[in-house]
């Protein structure tokens, strides 16, 4: 179906501010008398605070207030504390201090005396699982979503059976299976089996998470950096200890998040608490790059083992996967669940067993990072597919295609329960990509030598869920005929806040120039929207905006019928007018309808609102009531299955066997994201996701000193995200562009799998250039390549993590 706006490029309204420097990020706001906050972080990986002596610091000139752990609400076990009396990683905040300026705050911080009692610590999950291994937190070492905080130790026998380099497989809190895995392995033509490690890596959004706050007239005002506006508000209010109505939250721009700023987080709360202590005086916490490392989360690492069985046609008949997740010091994110789910949908195994255990370590807290679990699954498992393809003599695209869900998701199954999906076109993505990339011809050059360089090819797929339902939409036609689209989704930089707003314009047939997006803070009368994370926006927000615009449309038709006679369905919308279908002379402009709505009151002008909307939306409707025609609705459209975002990546590299360096000669990413809403925005996601994936595959990782528990990859130059010179000047993209039936205009999200397919493809290509060498480790760094090329042993043990 041809749309006027959907599928067309446009200029997102915040771009001018971004290129002129007028875009205001959290750290850019100023208020009179703003005090500076600084935080004292733990110098030890795990310790008990015995005493804090603030007397010297508090006596210093310019010191205004202090906060210690007792002053703040402490979370349950393995929660993320705002300030902690049992710091469990180097850098964890213990004390905060506010002073007239940052220099004074820093000076005062240096005068604080803290007595710490060192506690046992651990940076390797497997160490913690040993019979006498240390616990990262007092009282336990295992926790997770639906997994209680507990101590788990595996037996000496578990470790002995695994041998020095094998993965011990002791008892785990997460286990599921479907089909007869053992029988399938017995019958398999080829079985491949490997252990693997996936490193943790820092999010390191370019904007450190500065925050500021003040109190005025009983309300707390916070400027924060988050991917989500409406969704972050209740959580932030709760952490501050107030009701949502007492919180004014402004988050206009977010300088990158990648999951690390998904919603509200403890550091964002600190200025509000400090300001309260100072009688409401504005206070800013300016966060440094190092503090961003300590407090900005990281992708969870894994140690794992996988065994895959194939029949001779290349169909995956059995999968058995066991993973140990590195949580850092908090419950973190359920990457472990996502590993299993991703394998189940991308490869559609006929039978599968999945076991997982999330383990605490004294490293920074882990959070969701772009494709949390799903992208690690791609990096860990895709190379095994290559190994199987080689043993079976099947082309590497073919083996993926044989197993991929396609044809819109017919027969596709998802997860432990083998449930349905709304749409899936991975087979099509692989086919389109192979054709556009000219895979079958080109990949014949695999292994070709040119001096010290060898050609390598890689292909891989990835998944993330891509949509939710049940949130609210809110639009307003003002008497000047403009459509105000209220969106609470946040501004991460994908521009989907704007492309999904265009759905409302599309439904009403509005010219885009006559639309205004209202966003950026709770002052903008936001509807209750889901957060901008989890690749969901293009599905979820299309539905809410569709629902709100449809409500507005119905009201426009009703008003015209009331004014001009007849019934609502005698009318249609055309060029921002309501026109009688049978008589073009009978018409009313949207502007006049908006004026009439104000006269009519009731549901038309927002004086009444639907009962099923969220209180946040209801308050926003009340705030707008009487100012125009209000379209408001909860998204009650059916959503009966998992919405999958799927992607495939194709890559060509030259690998230099002498230097260990690779050069990416070509990359193509293909997306199954339903109907393409904003081609340029999609192109940007596919390309930039790939670039982030290249970093994930080959350079980015946590490094901790095992003896002292200190991090050694804090700064950007140590964490090594990719630069201009590490990636090709141009990357290719394509999309299947077929609709998801449960999205009103057919769109679904894509932001995450476009990273995982690229990182895994690059890993596969490096391996391919080395004749199928299995590194079983992400990232594959330069010295590993040199060792492999020279036939030398690696400097790490197979399951060593965090300290390689």
């Amino acid at each position: 179906m041809a749309y006027k706006l959907i599928g067309k490029d446009f200029t997102p309204p915040d771009l001018v501010a971004k290129v002129t420097g007028s875009a205001k990020y959290a750290g850019d706001f100023r208020a009179d008398g703003m005090a500076s906050i600084k935080v004292l972080g733990s110098p030890m990986p795990h310790a008990k605070v015995k005493s804090i002596d603030l007397s010297k610091a508090e006596a210093m000139p310019g010191v205004l207030a202090t906060l210690v752990p007792e002053d703040v609400k402490q979370p349950g076990p393995a929660g993320m504390a705002i300030l902690s009396s049992e710091p469990a990683y180097v850098g964890q905040p213990i004390v905060a201090i506010a002073a007239e300026n940052e220099q004074l705050a820093a000076d005062a911080l240096a005068a604080i005396e803290v007595e710490l009692e060192p506690l046992p610590f651990c940076i390797d999950p497997l160490e913690s699982l040993k019979p006498d291994g240390p616990n990262a937190l007092t009282g336990g070492n295992v926790v997770g979503r639906d997994v209680e905080f507990q101590e788990v130790k595996w037996s000496g026998k578990d470790f002995a059976l695994a041998g020095e380099d094998g993965l011990p497989q002791g008892k785990v809190p997460v286990e599921w299976a479907f089909g007869d895995v053992d029988a399938a392995f017995d019958a398999a033509a080829v079985v491949v089996e490997e252990t693997f490690v996936h490193s943790s890596n820092a999010h390191h959004a370019m904007e450190p998470r500065s925050a500021a706050a003040y109190w005025e007239n009983g309300k707390c005002h916070v400027w924060g950096s988050t991917q989500s506006t409406a969704f972050a508000q209740p959580g932030l209010a709760k952490m501050i200890g107030i009701s949502p109505a007492e919180l004014v939250f402004v988050a206009e721009y977010c300088g990158g998040g990648f999951g690390g700023k998904a919603s509200a987080y403890p550091l964002m709360v600190l200025p509000a608490l400090m300001s309260k202590k100072m009688g409401g005086r504005p206070a800013m916490l300016r966060v440094s790059r190092a503090e961003e490392y300590y407090n900005g989360y990281a992708r969870a690492g894994f140690q794992g083992w996988g065994k895959l069985g194939f029949n001779k046609e290349g169909r995956l008949t059995a999968a058995d996967v066991f993973v140990v997740q590195d949580l850092g010091t908090t419950t973190g994110f359920w990457d472990f669940n996502n590993v299993g789910a991703a394998i189940s949908i991308v490869f559609q195994p006929e039978s599968m067993r999945f076991r997982a255990i999330p383990v605490l370590t004294n490293t920074v807290p882990k959070g969701a990072q772009r494709g949390p679990g799903e992208n690690q699954a791609a990096n860990m498992l895709e190379p095994l597919f290559d190994k199987a393809a080689r043993e079976l003599g099947i082309d590497r695209v073919a083996i993926r295609s044989i197993n991929a869900p396609g044809e819109g998701g017919k027969d596709a199954k998802y997860g432990a329960k083998q449930g349905p999906v709304t749409s899936a076109y991975l087979k099509e993505a692989l086919a389109n990509g192979a054709e556009q990339f000219n895979w079958s011809e080109r990949s014949k050059a695999s292994g070709q030598r040119n001096g010290s360089k060898v050609r390598g090819y890689g292909v891989a797929s990835a998944y993330h869920s891509a949509g939710a339902a049940g949130f609210d939409g809110l639009v307003r036609l003002s008497p000047d005929g403009k459509l105000h689209i209220h969106t609470g989704v946040g501004n991460l930089g994908t521009f989907s806040y704007a492309s999904t707003s265009r759905v409302a314009a599309e439904v009403l047939g509005m010219a885009w120039e006559n639309c205004i997006i209202e966003r950026g803070g709770t002052t903008k009368n936001l509807p209750w929207n889901f957060g901008q994370f989890g690749s969901n926006t293009s599905f979820t927000m299309s539905r809410t905006n569709f629902a709100a615009a449809t409500d507005a449309k119905n009201k426009l038709l009703e008003i015209a019928a009331m004014e001009l006679g007849g019934a609502a369905d005698d009318y249609k919308l055309e060029n921002e007018m309501v026109v009688a279908t049978a008589d073009a002379g009978k018409s009313m402009s949207f502007a006049d309808c908006a004026k009439k709505a104000i006269d009519l009151g009731g549901k038309f002008s927002g004086m009444e609102a639907p009962e099923d909307i969220n209180p946040m939306t209801a308050a926003s409707v009340a705030g707008l009531a009487g100012s125009g025609l209000i379209g408001v609705s909860k998204d009650n459209m059916p959503k009966t299955a998992t919405v999958p975002a799927l992607a495939a990546g194709f890559i060509e590299i030259d690998l230099d066997l002498e230097t260990g360096k690779y050069e990416i000669l070509d990359y193509l990413g293909v997306a199954d994201c339903g109907v393409v809403m904003h081609p340029q925005g999609l192109a940007a996601q596919i390309r930039s996701g790939a670039i982030m994936g290249f970093g994930l595959a080959t350079t980015e990782r946590h490094i901790y000193d095992p003896e002292y528990g200190r991090p050694n990859a804090i700064g950007l130059y140590q964490a090594k995200p990719k630069t201009y010179l590490d990636v090709p000047a141009a990357l290719q993209w394509a999309a299947v562009d077929l609709p998801d039936e449960q999205s009103p205009l057919g769109s679904k999200g894509i932001g995450e799998p476009v990273e995982g397919c690229a990182s895994a493809a690059l890993l596969c290509a490096i391996s391919d250039a080395l004749g199928g060498h299995m590194f079983n480790r992400t990232p594959v760094v330069t010295d590993m390549i040199i060792n492999a090329a020279a036939g030398l042993p690696q400097s790490h043990k197979p399951l060593q993590t965090n300290c390689q």
């Binding site: 370019m206 904007e207 930089g493 930039s688």
Partner: protein
């Protein structure tokens, strides 16, 4: 040698004794000895400005994130006139103050971003006499005689965007936008120097500007497009 330019000396422990005392518990197997970190941002600055008495009333510093060092700053003429975006601005500048800090906190030119504060990312890029520099790693006093152009001074005074800005919009360069001011400034300065670059030259010139969102491809297309117009 001008004392303002004295290099950081890594052999000097500028922090003195750690204030945190260790208590050794009985029977603990893992006792991490606490040692001060070797190089913090502030020690770097202190290496540059090695003694003094004045404490800035506006100082905003970055520290290692664990514990800052004692502040020291040299007494110099603090009130200076800076030429920023074609205007003369009087501003109070501490001797150890970086240009990024002066711009953001002294002059409220918040378009200049600080991503790392240690010459790793380029988010803070501004032009000094037309050359792109990292303002986070430049002391304001050192460049007080140069003409500074920040992101706020790139577009015409009537609001007409510079071709680089327009091209970045057309090519959807920015994502989160936090690196964008630095990318714009570096591109503008580069195209002044080399108005007809090859893609590889542009890539080289831009390589001091990180983009965590990974929008390199789009920015680069923007630079090449703008090169047709400058």
């Amino acid at each position: 040698m001008n004392e303002d330019l004295m290099p950081y000396d890594p052999t000097v422990d500028y922090t003195g004794e750690p204030a945190i005392k260790e208590i050794t518990p009985d029977g603990s197997k893992h006792i991490p000895p606490w040692k001060p970190l070797n190089l913090t941002r502030r020690r770097f600055l202190q290496g540059v400005v090695c003694s003094g008495i004045a404490v800035s009333s506006t100082a905003i510093l970055f520290t290692s994130g664990t514990r800052p060092a004692r502040a020291d700053a040299r007494a110099v003429e603090r009130l200076i006139t800076l030429n920023v975006n074609g205007r003369k601005r009087n501003v109070d500048v501490a001797p150890n103050e970086t240009l990024a800090h002066t711009l953001r906190y002294g002059l409220n030119l918040i378009g200049t971003k600080v991503g790392c504060n240690r010459a790793e990312c380029g988010a803070c890029a501004v032009m000094a006499d037309g050359v792109s520099i990292y303002s986070c790693s430049t002391l304001t006093h050192r460049i007080k005689n140069k003409s500074i152009t920040t992101i706020e001074g790139i577009a015409d005074s009537d609001g007409t965007l510079h071709p680089v800005q327009q091209a970045f919009i057309d090519e959807l360069g920015p994502q989160c936008g936090f690196c964008t001011p630095g990318q714009v400034v570096t591109a503008v300065s580069f195209l002044k120097e080399n108005p007809n670059p090859t893609v590889d030259e542009a890539r080289m010139a831009m390589s001091g500007n990180l983009c965590r969102c990974g929008a390199y491809d789009h920015y680069l297309k923007g630079v090449m497009k703008a090169s047709e117009k400058v």
